[in-house]
Amino acid sequence: MAEMREPIESGCPDPWQYMHPVMRKNFGQWKYHEHPRPGVLRHVAYSGDEIWTVKAGTQRILDLFTLRKLCDIGDRYADGYVHFTLRSNIEYLVSDKAKVEPLIKALEDAGFVVGGTQNSVTMISHTQGWLHCDIPGTDASGVVKAMMDELIDEFRNTRMPNRVHITTSCCQINCGGQGDIAINVQHTKPPKINHDLVANVCERPSVVARCPVAAIRPAMVNGKPSLEVDERKCICCGACYPPCPPMQINDPEHTKLAIWVGGNHSNARGKPTFQKLVAAGIPNNPPRWPEATAIVKRILKAYKEGARDWERINEWIERIGWPRFFEEVELPFTKYHIDTWRGARASFNSSSYIRF
């Protein structure tokens, strides 16, 4: 066997070497910023220096051709320095205002979408889906592509009351995270267990421990050690599936999508909030998931028309009340909207505040 190379445990690289010189020079000394147009930011330092940012949306899963095209644009029309946002948008940094317009044109001519700043609907943060995940109930990149096709004008413009963060997740672990609107897989049936495989594949005690509602217990099935699920307790969360693939939770028919709203991680005006369920039972319908997109568009329309400047979706609903929200977006309110988890009591109305 060839000599193995010891790794250099360098950890997280120093970004200083990759940072625009104007940003290095004015590090920690920025005075204010302006938003001249959607997709463009102008930051001014106390020194009087300025840096212009041009932000563009991409397909996120970049092939070598696309990545090199982005680099070509960065070399030819910008200063060769970029930054990626949390939501996988690329930002080109230039110190010369004259470069901004040609850079925007070059990006748009190459098929990228300039926008995503301030009160726009920015790029959907998402998971890996069928392309790479081992437990996905749906795809991620495909859902996002189909939705962004429909929302592209809201990415390009800043017509929303405040910024809108959309996320998608291909299982209930919700790697996509909290969002003003989150489109997440919601399983509706307990796992189907292949009892022939469990004993060989799964560490049974860990799987039992993984269940949030203690619905899984060891059992002998067909003379083999296996696991069984108390289906009256099971909440179909899929937590047992990653450590035990023979407990198949994904189902072409019964794995549905659910939509949640009001996740907001900023502290501005109010403390951070988690997203709340508004719609479920939405068909998992590749390749374009039109039913999910239609609901998202209804929510965005009602928010755009009804919210005040600076109100995020959670704040808008807080003001108008949930009954009116369900009315405005024409979604049914059901017993499934009532929380059953620990802390549920805190979500019940213990006052005479009633909305008519």
């Binding site: 899963i61 070598l64 979408v113 392309l131 790479h132 081992d134 501005a268």
Partner: protein, 417 residues
């Protein structure tokens, strides 16, 4: 050599529409790349993905793949339908830590692309939800070759599994007037202190650091990290009254009454008759809203530092948790300050590694043992800033009250309060 291309009628529908298409990108690798290995990999990947779209199921399984000397950092994927799609039957992702704050030159992006072209599928994402550069799609031997090559020029794997994960930090001081700390330094000092815990998973479960330079929390640290560092300040915010007047002249008084004065969560702002702004700083909670609306006029104060919240996570297993304030305010200026930040992280991780159950996140452990027990365990005194309000339930044994009260007053005296 022409390859037998899989038909992808469903995926083809994702090539229509104005948003850039990842399917078109994978097809470019299949049809236009000079390397036959990449063509075949892209073709079979598309074939398997189409199969997923048809059957509405995923076909990747995990396994164990790592590089020499490490135990994590790679997400192994073996296809369950590899016989039909052999060129992509091993399709592992390497999680690579980005430079803190996600800054790149086009030159380093090209260098990474060139390395990946030699060994991988040609697909890259900047960045995954944990914050890694994701090099998607390599077979088992290639993972070592690719890692060796990029490791030589300064890149390292991130975390995967029950370990310290790749950290994230906002653009902060590099380009943002709201920044209250050196995010890059906090990010790198924290995560690079734990390289062993990143590369060799041995903790109860994952542990994430995220750093946001101000309470806008652009990195979603409070909701998505076990150890959230949020920049803040504790003196008066700075008010440029001339700029306040300019804003009001531009948009009118009513706009600022409706969008700034009445939106302050603690009613700390007053707009005076002469269009100047009075801030009651004792009442201000630094929510950032007024600074966001009037970035030219209002700025963080000079006495900057960080608030540290512990235990944020998503649903599994006990429900969503946000981080809880453990350190209301900490200066982060001197080397000693940074060193003590790292020591705090060590204390917390050690305590959790010792007391957490298998697959139990730090926040879940705090929920199980109680915040007071956790504070005792890590040697931090209780502070009213850690709570929204004191306890509601009288069901607690309180025969240590007098001693606890004395300790409080002694601490206050020591701090000169």
């Amino acid at each position: 050599m022409a390859i037998d291309k899989h038909q992808t009628p469903m995926l083809d529908q994702l090539e229509t529409g104005p948003w850039p298409s990842f399917i078109s990108g994978i097809k470019r690798l299949r049809d236009q790349h000079p390397d036959a290995r990449i063509n075949a990999m892209a073709n079979d990947l598309l074939g398997q993905l189409e199969h997923s779209y048809e059957t509405r199921k995923g076909y990747w399984k995990g396994g164990t793949v790592s590089v020499y000397g490490y135990g994590g950092g790679i997400i192994p994927r073996f296809s369950e339908v590899g016989k039909a799609f052999p060129a992509s039957k091993e399709f592992h992702t390497l999680r690579v830590q980005p430079p803190a704050g996600n800054h790149y030159t086009t030159a380093i992006l090209r260098q990474l692309a060139d390395s990946w072209e030699k060994y991988g599928s040609g697909l890259i994402t900047f960045h995954g939800q944990t914050g890694n550069i994701m090099f998607i799609g390599a077979d088992t031997p290639s993972t070592q070759h690719f890692f060796d090559e990029i490791n030589e020029y300064g890149f390292d794997l991130g975390g995967a599994g029950p370990c310290v994960r790749t950290a994230m930090s906002c653009i902060g001081s590099a380009r943002c007037e709201m920044s209250c700390t050196n995010e890059l330094k906090a990010h790198r000092m924290l995560v690079n202190n734990f390289v062993d815990d990143v590369h060799r998973p041995a903790l109860p479960y994952k542990f994430k650091f995220k750093v946001s330079g101000c309470p806008n929390d652009c990195q979603n640290a409070i909701e998505r990290s076990d150890f959230a560092v949020i920049g803040t300040w504790r003196d008066d915010m700075k008010v440029d009254q001339a700029e306040v007047k300019n804003y009001i002249a531009e948009k009118g008084r009513q706009y600022y009454i409706d969008n700034v004065i009445t939106r302050c969560p603690t009613k700390a702002l007053t707009l005076n008759d002469d269009d100047t702004l009075t801030v009651n700083n004792r009442d201000c909670v630094r929510c950032m809203h007024c600074l966001n609306v009037m970035p030219k006029a209002l700025h963080p104060g000079d006495d900057k530092g960080v608030t540290i919240l512990i235990g944020g996570k998503r649903t599994l297993k006990i429900g969503d948790l946000m981080g809880t304030v453990i350190v209301p305010f900490k200066k982060l200026e001197t080397e000693e300050d940074y060193q003590s930040l790292v020591e705090l992280a060590e204390t917390i991780i050690d305590f959790w590694a010792e007391n957490g159950l298998e697959h139990e996140r730090c926040g879940e452990m705090i929920e199980r043992i109680g915040l007071a027990t956790f504070l005792e365990g890590i040697g931090i005194d209780p502070d009213p800033n850690m709570l929204n309000h004191p306890r509601q339930s009288s069901y607690i044994r309180m025969d240590g009250w007098e001693q606890a009260a004395e300790e409080w007053f002694a601490r206050r005296a020591e701090a000169g309060r």
